[in-house]
């Protein structure tokens, strides 16, 4: 299927992502930050679709926006951060942190400007209709070991989270 209005959608989705990211790090109310993060995650799913990665987009929506963010919202409600909203939001080293992060950003810009010639602009033609099947074949073929270890990791995480959040072990 031929893509339609690609620059418009790219700029709109990445604009939403950046605005969401800015709102996450600047809001006083943690619930508003969580909602802005949901906006960022959904915009990112849209960008994955534009990169011809429909399966990763679906996984992003199900796991990230529909799972992890619900977990965050639950914990925010449990922890009840009313008092936190009235205190100072940024810590004492905010200026140093900001300068460090911006210099990291400047380093990224320098790398991209110099290395622009390194990206081959031929795009591998990944037929979109076979994306899920191909990823399935790779997950159960090349990356079988990592797949099993990931499931073990999730089991350990579940047990750990349950033990840590219990009142009496």
């Amino acid at each position: 299927m031929t893509p339609v209005a690609t620059p418009f959608f790219f700029y709109m989705l990445s604009g939403l992502m950046i605005i969401g990211g800015l709102l996450v790090i600047t809001r006083k109310n943690a619930v508003h930050s969580a909602l802005a993060l949901i906006l960022t995650l959904l915009a990112q799913a849209g960008l994955y679709l534009m990169l011809y990665a429909p399966f990763v987009a679906g996984v992003q929506i199900i796991l990230y926006a529909g799972g992890i963010m619900v977990l965050f919202l639950f914990v925010i409600m449990l922890v009840n951060l009313e008092r936190m909203q009235k205190e100072k939001q940024f810590n004492k080293q905010w200026l140093v942190g900001l300068v460090a992060a911006l210099s990291l950003g400047a380093m990224f810009v320098a790398v991209y400007v110099r290395g622009r010639a390194l990206f081959p602009e031929r795009a591998v033609s990944l037929p979109e209709a076979q994306n899920t099947q191909s990823i399935g074949l790779m997950l159960y073929g090349n990356y079988m070991f990592a797949f099993e270890i990931a499931s073990l990791l999730l089991l350990v995480a579940i047990i750990g989270a349950v033990v840590m959040a219990k009142k009496r072990i």
Binding site: M1, T2, V4, N29, V31, H32, L35, I38, P54, F55, A57, G58, V59, I61, I62, A65, G66, G67, M69, V70, L73, F74, M77, E128, A129, N131, T132, Q133
Partner: protein, 419 residues
């Protein structure tokens, strides 16, 4: 411009408007789906009250129109004209956003639901994954609604409701994966996640997936049917929003039009999950027995069903009109009811015309199967007592999840053995 519009009609294209890239017809389909869902929600409102009443040996609303037919309109008017109260201390932005998020999540599911081989808004390759993901966004709306109300009952109701929805989503996902496994039993050995592809797989394998590998398909179907009732917060899993438990749960503090948005979201969610169940297990738009009773005569017989349905409804309406008392008050109502019956009869006659008759087949059978599910939803509400919250979570995690896993493993084994 006109070329753009008619190019989709002319070529007898075999794809949905989304796949053809035709934005105009995609918008037309979206408007049709939206209008259809709204109409069905209005009918469901009336039907629920009447059917619940008749099951409880009483008659429902009779006052507003003949046999209460104008009751939903009166309800809608009342809700629109009510005062819009926002509780003090409530987070206004989040309070305003919450019903919108639920509606967005529910209505986005309709983008992939196929009413026919080309009658869908679009057909994504990952249609099923999209549907699962977007319906899990509804949980966020509920959590936001409960939090933003700044009150105890909505918060507890929201947390309970979201815990319930998240638990039953897992059982739903496992049942859905069992159905997807069955689509891969074709010549190439590749399954598909696209909704139209799943119905076409049922068509090519000559069996509805509910009856495949008996009883595995049936168990998966039953697991999904139970999980979808819990997913939409309907009885008997409606603890978070029942009136006698938590004073209406997460939508306690919502009044007027906002509350009607929640109700619209709930009914639209019921229709959405019913259509998912129909597509995955009951053969989607296929008529019953397409292979056992094949041939032109049987096709013609089955194609008369839409018209017969409407004639039946018109007959019931005329019967109700004839039974009304003959005083002047009721004469007006009887005339209104007879007029309604006449409209139904005219629609039935239109559905007898050959070109309409063949075009409406797929949509009719799909809607008929959804109607069966909606009747079941109302029947459950009238019949079953409510689950307590710990019983509800126990059923979700300790009963449906192991059964879903078992069905998945057995389906995979059956597929390998027969393949």
């Amino acid at each position: 411009m006109l070329n753009y519009i008619t190019s989709y009609l002319d070529k007898n294209v075999q794809v949905t408007p989304g796949q053809a890239g035709n934005i105009f017809w995609a918008l037309v389909y979206i408007l049709c789906v939206f209008g259809g869902v709204s109409l069905v929600v209005v009918c469901m409102n009336w039907l629920e009250r009447k059917i619940l009443a008749h099951m409880q040996v009483r008659i429902g609303p009779m006052r507003v129109g003949p046999h209460g037919l104008l009751q939903p309109i009166a309800d809608a008017l009342k809700l629109i004209l009510k005062e819009d109260i926002i509780p003090e201390g409530a987070d206004t932005v989040v309070f305003w956003f919450a019903p919108l998020i639920i509606l967005l999540a529910v209505f986005s599911v309709y983008c992939v639901i196929p009413f026919g081989p080309t009658h869908a808004i679009t057909d994504m390759n990952i249609g099923l994954l999209f549907m699962l993901g977007v319906s899990s966004l509804g949980v966020l709306g509920i959590v936001m609604a409960g939090w933003a109300s700044n009150s105890h009952y909505p918060l507890i109701g929201a947390l309970r409701s979201s815990a319930q929805m998240v638990s039953y989503e897992i059982a739903m996902g496992l049942a859905v994966v069992s159905a997807v496994l069955m689509t891969s039993l074709n010549a190439q050995g590749t399954g598909t996640l696209s909704m139209i592809g799943i119905v076409q797989a049922q068509q090519s394998q000559h069996i509805w997936f509910a009856f495949k590998f008996f009883p595995l398909g049936l168990i998966a179907f039953v697991v999904f049917a139970i999980a979808m009732v819990a997913e939409t917060n309907r009885a008997p899993f409606d603890l978070p929003e029942a009136e006698s438990e938590l004073t209406a749960g997460f939508h306690t503090e919502y009044s007027g039009l906002r509350w009607s948005l929640f109700m619209l979201g709930e009914y639209a969610g019921m229709i959405a999950v019913s259509s998912i169940a129909t597509t995955l297990w009951l053969g989607g738009w296929m008529r019953p027995f397409p292979n056992l009773l094949r041939g032109a005569a049987w096709d013609m017989a089955f194609s008369l069903f839409p018209a017969l349905t409407f004639f039946g409804l018109a007959g019931l309406t005329f019967y109700g009109a004839a039974r009304m008392a003959k005083t002047s008050f009721f004469r007006v109502q009887a005339m209104g009811l007879a007029g309604f019956g006449a409209v139904l009869g005219v629609i039935g006659l239109i559905l007898l015309l050959p070109p309409v008759r063949t075009g409406i087949q797929d949509i009719y059978w799909f809607v008929a199967k959804i109607a069966v599910f909606l009747y079941l939803f109302i029947w459950y509400r009238a019949t079953f007592p409510r689950y307590r919250f710990d019983q509800l979570m126990k059923v979700g995690w300790k009963v449906l999840l192991p059964v879903g896993l078992g069905v998945l493993i057995l389906t995979a084994a059956a597929g390998v053995v027969t393949g």
